[in-house]
């Protein structure tokens, strides 16, 4: 082959690359369309249509002790906050998904999927449950997340309430904990340990001179001599959205995949 002159090689190449069978342009395009169209129909179109109108889930008398429709409890500036969350790239580092047990181990990590609490009889109960399709209610897009450089936020509002009880915290309310986190994540506690180094987002805040007693909206812990720091409307929406992320409402028995779930008496 190597010793052939170039012209001869060219001719041979041309004949070799010709398609021997006669696949027409039309049949080639149809084949391309089918190889793409079948998966497109099966994993995009049909599931999209089915998920669009999910059947509502009911509490049932024999399992839950009551008979009513399940309405996910969620309040706050969710639509606006969700878009601020997206526009600032929170989803790159933070996930919002408690995977089912076969796919991951979030259910086991303390305080991520729920809490270890005591019920009315003093028995320790784990409320951890995986994400349901209703957990993203009111959001146009589920911020599943990309890389999980920071912790999962599915239950962040619940966790913050726990953090507020820590003696070293500087925050006074869940809102102020989040404002401190956004302004500079190393300011939240009195220690110098800043292992969760979320990038500082000072653009969420405005500094202005302090007049009189100051604004009730000023973030405690950030005010300095003669100055106070106010969150912007975007920061307020984001914080309101983040505080709506919690896993402590009762879901119907049929929707609860927790290992410790119990039927109502």
């Amino acid at each position: 082959m190597k010793s052939l002159p170039m012209a001869q090689t060219m001719r041979q190449r041309n004949s070799n690359l010709q398609k021997p069978e006669s696949m027409t342009f039309k049949s080639f395009i149809v084949a391309l369309g089918l190889s793409f169209g079948i998966p497109w129909f099966l994993i995009i179109l049909v599931p999209f249509g089915k998920m669009r109108n999910l059947e509502p889930v009911y509490f049932e008398t024999e399992n839950d002790g009551k008979d009513e429709i399940y309405v996910p409890r969620r309040s706050g500036l969710i639509t606006t906050g969700s878009s601020v969350y997206g526009a600032n790239g929170c989803y790159i580092c933070h996930t919002q998904l408690i995977r089912a047990g076969y796919a991951g181990s979030e259910l086991g990590r303390a305080d991520w999927a729920g809490f270890q609490i005591k019920d009315e009889n003093g028995v320790s109960v784990n409320t951890a449950r995986e994400t349901t399709p209703f957990d993203y209610g009111d959001e146009p897009f589920a911020h599943i997340g990309l890389m999980r450089i920071g912790p999962d936020l599915t239950n962040v509002a619940g966790r913050i309430e726990k953090y507020l009880k820590e003696p070293l915290t500087k925050a006074k309310s869940p809102e102020s904990w989040l404002y401190l986190h956004l302004f500079n994540s190393s300011l939240k506690t009195k220690t110098l340990n800043n292992s969760f180094a979320c990038p500082p987002q000072p653009h969420f805040f405005k500094e202005r001179p302090l007049y009189g007693q100051g604004s009730p909206n000023a973030v405690p812990g950030l005010s300095q001599e003669g100055k106070e720091v106010l969150p912007t409307p975007e920061a307020k929406a984001l914080v309101s959205y983040l505080l709506s992320l919690r896993k402590d409402d009762a879901v119907p028995y049929s929707l609860n995949y927790s290992r410790d779930k119990k039927k109502a008496d």
């Binding site: 793409f36 999209f48 796919a103 180094a197």
Partner: protein
């Protein structure tokens, strides 16, 4: 050099035709390559900044526009749409015109659409940096941008599609199938992704699922066929040898077409959507190795015994690096998506490593190969500096390899620590530190390499290249026959025609 140019008039006509195709496409193709290379440089700088911030959150912390959460999506979007798509457009337009042997008669429209595309990229990137991004991975440009990009796409590629349609029936080359498939699939993938996420009002989890599918579809059904089409054109062209096996080429092509569209939803394993979808996606991603091996074996066997060409030709060197990149993509796709590893890799740095491997390690390398081959033909000048090409090659290869290895290794450690749910979360957060530093250094190397590439390309565009009839070869020796194939004699015809 050979007997072709002196004996037969058909060959003369053939060379004239090639020269006139090249002349007709000079402006649009150079425009796509040069603006793509410019966006690539911006993307790499943003990648460097984002990576630096991932291990030092105080780096440039005063500048709101360059926050990690904005620099990172801008970096990825520019890599895909600013560089990747535009390089692909240049390759598609030139290769399909050459393969269907017809001049391009719509350069004005293509150029206008190309400017529109760049305007869309510019507006989208500025919006992301200004905090107005949509927050949906790889669709971060605001919703007003995607119709503009789709429209310009149609006007850029529809002419190539018509060209192939009109000339079909004569000779059909392997490269043509791949390029035609890419042209055909892209609008379907792009429209599906954006319509189902932005326009149709569906379930938020399904929107996220389609978004995850879209990223893989773009990689496997657009970038992959463009890169493979280019490689299937260049390898036989430069070595002057037929493809090793026609049936293996056919098999590899349809394997990609059948497997590719299923991949992507493994990002949502364990999420509340029909359980089969993520696992079908994971399975399809592991199977990408099948077309990988088919293409790899076919092209590398074609090259067997042509070491001299590989050493000498910059195009071939980049193309081989790209083919190896495709094999590695298949291998990592397989390793990272088994039921055992998917748990660790679903939410870790590995995904980034996979994307960089696909777009930079595989697609870009093949695209560079094509650009080093095409640009001398359309500008009728030779590359100025062997050293620039060499530096570009080595800095890019080692840089990308480092980014990929660091992201995948760091991601695996990070993922394993995440799965160890009884240990402290901060283990997982801190484990990837060293790998992030490595990634930053590597982006620095890649930035340097792409600087040489950009400068070299712009000098060629300004027609400051060497007026030489000998191609720029990396080993500096003189060769009896041109490793770029006999059509380089088009140069000799030029004075007669002009």
């Amino acid at each position: 050099m050979t007997s072709e140019s002196s004996t037969g008039t058909p060959d003369q006509n053939d060379l004239k035709l090639r020269a006139s195709i090249d002349r007709s496409l000079r402006h649009p193709v150079m425009f796509f390559f040069a603006s793509g290379a410019a966006w690539l440089a911006v993307a790499i700088i943003l990648g460097f900044i984002a990576s630096y911030k991932s291990h030092d959150s105080d780096f440039l912390s005063g500048i709101e526009f360059l926050n990690y959460g904005r620099a990172y999506p801008a970096h990825i979007n520019l890599l895909f749409y600013g560089w990747g798509c535009q390089a692909a457009f240049g390759l598609i337009v030139w290769l399909l015109a050459r393969l269907s042997r017809s001049e391009c008669r719509s350069t004005g429209i293509i150029l206008t659409a190309g400017h529109l595309w760049n305007f869309g990229i510019m507006a989208g990137t500025l919006s992301i940096l200004a905090g107005r991004g949509s927050g949906k991975p790889l669709m971060e440009f605001p919703p007003a941008i995607w119709p503009v990009l789709l429209l310009s796409y149609v006007f850029i590629t529809v002419w190539s599609f018509i060209q192939v349609r009109c000339s079909y029936g004569g000779k059909t080359y392997v490269g043509q199938w791949y390029l035609l498939a890419a042209v055909f699939w892209f609008p379907w993938v792009y429209l599906t992704g954006h319509l189902f996420v932005f326009v149709f009002n569906g379930h938020p989890v399904m929107a996220a699922g389609i978004n995850a599918w879209y990223k893989y579809a773009l990689i496997l059904l657009f970038f992959t066929p463009v890169a493979l089409g280019t490689a299937y054109y260049l390898v036989p062209k430069i070595t002057g040898r037929p493809i090793y096996s026609y049936s293996l080429a056919l098999y590899g092509f349809w394997a990609l077409a059948v497997i590719g569209p299923w991949a992507g939803m493994q990002k949502l394993a364990g999420a509340p959507l029909p359980q089969f979808m993520p696992y079908v996606g994971a399975t399809a991603t592991t199977l990408i190795l099948i077309p990988g091996i088919a293409v790899g074996v076919n092209l590398l066997m074609t090259l067997r015994g042509h070491q001299a060409h590989i050493v000498a030709s910059p195009s071939l060197r980049f193309t081989i690096a790209g083919i190896v990149g495709f094999l590695l993509l298949g291998l990592t796709g397989m390793a990272l998506n088994t039921p055992a590893t998917l748990k660790m890799t679903q939410f870790a740095l590995t995904g980034y490593g996979f994307e960089v491997l696909a777009v930079c390690g595989f697609f870009s390398m093949c695209a560079f190969g094509g650009i080093y081959f095409i640009v001398p033909r359309i500008t009728r000048r030779e590359w100025l500096s062997r050293r620039f090409i060499g530096w570009h090659f080595w800095l890019t290869t080692y840089g990308i390899l480092t980014v990929v290895v660091c992201s995948i290794m760091g991601g695996l450690f990070q993922g394993a620590a995440q799965e160890a749910y009884r240990s402290s979360w901060s283990d997982a957060a801190s484990l990837s530190y060293a790998y992030n530093v490595g990634t930053t250094v590597a982006w620095g190397l890649i930035a340097l390499g792409s600087f040489f590439f950009l400068v070299h390309l712009l000098l060629m565009w300004a027609r400051l290249g060497k007026r030489s009839q000998h191609p720029t070869l990396l080993d500096g020796g003189h060769h009896e026959e041109s490793p770029h194939g006999p059509d380089h004699e088009a140069e000799e015809l030029q004075p007669a025609e002009a």
